[in-house]
């Protein structure tokens, strides 16, 4: 009967539910305590051991109905397709578990020699069990490998080239992936905060304070290391294909915004337009799509970096300070307009750091109307930004800045 359980676990795996060996054993154990003749309880018992994520529950329900074709009325004893009766499960469950565990051990031992050693000539059933277990283990290892690579639903999301038009479904998935990435980055940052808070004892202050309590060091005072929060200013070129990357970067900034004393976002094509407050009132995804229709932005115009920088310099120079991290996202394609790179140089002297992110592959920089090398001397970092791995590194860099 344990065979049925193992088969069921395999069916689950085929429908995308990750079931481990330990969980299958748990399920077998559980069936000794649950009244397996009652279908709802039987189902609930299997579900609580084999399914560990609510996304998988529909898949489980479906597989369960398909697999255990037992009539609810309890009149038909032998289910179709030679499915063993549920009572069987209960009766020799214990014995089976022990055998299952033994077999497992043997199969482990036999691993590496190809076929399990069959010196004592196991009978047909046991042979079958062994083969089955070998299969299970292969599956097991495969699923473990997946687990170790940190696989979440966004397993391949990391490699997706963002610098292209993506189908809407993918965009949503990627937004989720960016959200998770931001969460990771932020947690790591908060951990640093925590560590720094548990500073060493400040002897000087503790002694000073102890005078109040008759030289009894009653209050221990710790050294607090202050971690300064930077101000973040983002300038995003959103013309044409850069938009595809820009929205993910804006999403990342949006998710990390509470890590900065202030995070301001500006979009530009040929004129600059602040969008910082746009995201406060409505869900992010809606807002982002609406931005395209903003007339102030002239979304379908030709991008003019020089003019945009000059306008920013004109209107916002005084709001920059030594705490500001200036991040510019753009392909540096000026459409042959004057790059006015001296403006960027002047901005750079005012801020703490300037980071330029270019969504184009490095080999295309400085081809045609791209003037990356004119701008790069005025930046502390110039990075390619076209997939989630790079986005993550950039996030770390910005948080560290």
């Amino acid at each position: 009967m344990i065979k049925r359980l193992v088969e069921f676990a395999r069916t689950l795996r085929q429908s995308g539910v990750r079931v481990s060996m330990a969980e299958t054993l748990d399920a077998a154990e559980v069936l000794r305590h649950a009244p397996v003749t009652e279908r709802p309880a039987f189902k609930a018992s299997l579900r609580t051991t084999l399914v560990k994520s609510h996304e998988d529950i529909p898949a489980f329900d479906e597989a369960f109905e398909r697999f255990f074709l037992v009539q609810v009325g309890g009149e038909t004893e032998g289910p179709p397709d030679g499915h063993p009766d549920l009572d069987d499960i209960h009766d020799d469950g214990e014995q089976d578990i022990r055998r299952f565990q033994d077999e497992q051990g043997e199969a482990m031992a036999g691993e590496g020699e190809g076929e399990p050693a069959d010196g004592d000539e196991p009978d047909e059933l046991e042979g079958e069990l062994e083969r089955m277990l070998a299969r299970v283990q292969v599956g097991e290892q495969a699923s473990d490998a997946v687990t170790e690579s940190g696989a979440q639903p966004n397993q391949q999301a990391e490699d997706v080239d963002l610098y292209q038009e993506l189908p809407p479904g993918d965009v949503d998935n990627l937004y989720e992936a960016v959200e998770e990435l931001a969460r990771n980055l932020v947690t790591r940052k908060s951990l640093r905060f925590r560590k720094s808070r548990h500073g060493r004892v400040d002897i000087k202050k503790t002694i000073q304070r102890s005078f109040r309590t008759g030289n009894l060091p009653f209050h221990i005072i710790y050294k607090h290391r202050k971690i300064k929060k930077n101000e973040l200013v983002v300038l995003c070129d959103v013309s044409g294909s850069v938009w595809e990357v820009a929205r993910f970067f804006i999403k990342l900034v949006h998710e990390m915004q509470n890590q900065f004393s202030r995070a301001r976002s500006f979009l530009f094509v040929d004129r600059i337009n602040e969008v910082t407050d746009e995201f406060d009132s409505r869900p992010f995804e809606d807002t982002v799509e609406n931005l395209k229709d903003d007339h102030a932005l002239n979304f379908f115009g030709l991008s003019d970096f020089g003019r945009a920088f000059y306008q920013f310099h004109d209107e916002h120079l005084l709001s920059l300070s030594g705490n500001t991290v200036l991040v510019i996202l753009g392909d540096a394609r000026t459409n042959w307009f004057d790059p006015q790179d001296w403006v960027l140089g002047e901005l750079n002297t005012r801020v703490h750091q300037t980071i330029w992110l270019n969504p184009e592959p490095v080999q295309y920089w400085d081809t045609d109307d791209s003037v990356m090398s004119k701008y790069s001397p005025h930046c502390d970092h110039v990075l390619e930004c076209r997939n989630l791995v790079q986005l993550k590194e950039i996030g770390e860099l910005i948080l560290r800045a």
Partner: protein
């Protein structure tokens, strides 16, 4: 009180405490007690996840120890802490005794050695401030440990918890290893703010609680709202369940349904109407835009009509 005999027993004992549940919920609870495995409970906010632990403690007559998780929770808040101030205070008060003790020593080295021998006096259980996890481990009688909103803690804490939950023992450098006299029943709850690790999920039994069915929720409302008319309860629940399908910013929880039903009873409402709705909807819905949407779109007509 004795252990559960079956999932039905769980349903009955929970129901005796006004907690209505079906076999879907009772079976995992029964099994966790039988197998002594932690139970991981997930589901939308306000469906009674935390309540399960309380019911479990009451039904089994055990003490409930609660650990509320939050970002930045660390070992000193979850496990134990040394009471530095108490240690210092004792050192000061015992100054003379310590002086006496050291009087007989000749060299500084001897003095340090003598003091070293008394080390254990200052790192003993008296100066240990147990936090929930250690409390659950040290408890002489079996307890229920509730780890609430585990998804809010950091990854590091989750791995640490995994270690504690697997063998219920803790090493304190100054004291040695403390092992649980009994295995506490552990209930973990999560709102899925963060994906929990596979390892943690593998070790737990899993229970996903969704919003209750119409009949269940009517029973819950009738049970928790004394003096409510059965018709009104039906209307209330049908209305709430309809709202839950409408993709609100903050869908109403069971607790809010009950609050709302209570409010309606206090307001002497016999049935739902636009007036009763506008005067009491803020008990049910906690978001201004949601309220406006409901009042504007006239869902009240469909539900109440």
């Amino acid at each position: 009180m004795t252990a559960f005999t079956s999932a039905h027993d769980v349903i009955q004992r929970f129901e005796a405490q006004d907690y209505i549940c079906g076999p879907d919920l009772a079976t995992p609870v029964f099994l966790m007690e039988r197998l002594e495995k932690p139970l991981l409970v997930e589901g939308p906010p306000g469906v009674g996840k935390t309540e399960i632990a309380k019911m479990l403690a009451d039904a089994l007559g055990r003490r409930l120890i609660r650990l509320q998780c939050y970002e930045g929770l660390d070992e000193s808040k979850a496990l134990y802490e040394w009471e530095y101030t108490k240690q210092l205070l004792y050192t000061q008060m015992l100054k003379d005794r310590i002086g006496e003790l050291l009087k007989q020593t000749e060299t500084l080295g001897n003095a340090v050695e003598a003091l070293n021998r008394e080390d254990s006096a200052f790192f003993s259980r008296q100066f240990l401030l147990p936090r929930p996890l250690l409390e659950a481990i040290l408890a002489p009688e079996p307890v229920v440990l509730l780890v609430d909103e585990i998804d809010r803690s950091d990854d590091e804490f989750e791995s640490f918890l995994l270690e504690v939950l697997s063998d219920f023992q803790v090493s304190i450098p100054e004291l040695g290893t403390l092992t649980a006299a009994q295995r506490p029943l552990v209930v973990l709850t999560s709102n899925a703010n963060r994906n929990l690790s596979e390892a943690l999920r593998r070790r737990c039994l899993y229970l996903y609680i969704n919003y209750p069915t119409l009949e269940q929720e009517v029973r819950i409302v009738l049970c928790k709202t004394p003096g409510i008319d059965e018709d009104l309860a039906n209307q209330v629940v049908r209305f709430v369940q309809k709202i839950r399908t409408l993709n609100m910013r903050k869908p109403p929880s069971i607790a809010e349904t009950i609050d709302w039903a209570l409010a309606l009873v206090v307001l002497n409402a016999r049935h739902l109407s636009r007036d009763t709705l506008s005067s009491s909807l803020n008990v049910l819905m906690k978001d201004r835009e949601d309220i406006e949407r409901i009042m504007r779109d006239g869902y009240h007509d469909q539900a109440a009509g």
